[in-house]
């Protein structure tokens, strides 16, 4: 199974937000911790709604949390 082309900066953003835990972020956006783990590993591309909720949790626009492209996803 190939890696998803949608990448994200969730791990870095959590660290920059008072070292927010995966569980805290999961509770904030209404998913399980497993889903946050899968997102950070690049094993899952979130729905648009969840992507917006995560971006709102960090107080950032969507494109500062998520990016699209094979090149970016590999980096």
């Amino acid at each position: 199974m190939g890696k998803n082309l949608v990448g994200n900066h969730i791990r870095k953003l959590r660290f920059n937000n008072n070292e927010m835990t995966q569980q805290q972020l999961a509770d904030k956006v209404g998913v399980t911790r497993q889903t946050i783990v899968a997102l950070e590993k690049g094993n899952y591309s979130p729905s648009l709604e969840l992507a917006f909720r995560i971006a709102h949790a960090f107080g950032l626009p969507l494109e500062e949390v998520f990016f699209y492209g094979e090149e970016n996803a590999n980096s």
Binding site: V31, Q34, K41, P46
Partner: protein, 148 residues
């Protein structure tokens, strides 16, 4: 390993265990080749019905025991809800297990067309039900580990 992965493994092993033990229990009760056709049909009918009931009850008990064991050993609570990733994985695993069962069902019907004895049809049907359960659990485990 996460709760969902552990639960998929427990479900997989409990499915195999229940099926194997039940088959071992029912095998000596088979009426035999010389038995009346209604007796044979009664045997297979009760085999499927009792297996369904037994596996539902056993899965509930195993699930409760697993949740208690998970809480005690990890100190974590099991997820109280199903989010979008869980729903997507559930749909994918249902699709896989449904496909396996349909293949088994068609093979079972094919065995009747090819004039095999009715016991072959029942055995293929029951085996495909078991295989669909196993592939469903394996597919769930695969998607939780490797992503969707």
């Amino acid at each position: 390993m996460t709760y969902q992965e552990k639960k998929s493994i427990v479900t997989l092993f409990s499915t195999i265990l229940i099926f194997v033990l039940y088959c071992l229990y029912m095998y000596p009760k088979y009426p035999g080749e010389s038995a009346d056709i209604t007796e044979v049909f009664h045997y297979w009918g009760s085999f499927v019905l009792v297996l369904t009931l037994v596996s539902i009850v056993a899965h509930i008990i195993i699930s409760i025991a697993f949740n208690v064991f998970f809480r005690v050993t990890t100190g974590e609570k099991e997820p109280a809800f199903e989010d979008e990733l869980d729903k997507l994985i559930r749909l994918k695993s249902i699709r896989v297990s449904f496909a396996v069962f349909v293949i088994g069902f068609l093979l079972a019907m094919g065995s009747l067309v090819l004039d095999y004895p009715s016991k072959v049809m029942f055995m293929i049907l029951i085996a495909s039900g078991f295989a669909s359960d196993v592939t469903g659990s394996l597919s769930r485990l695969y998607h939780y580990r490797r992503g969707v």
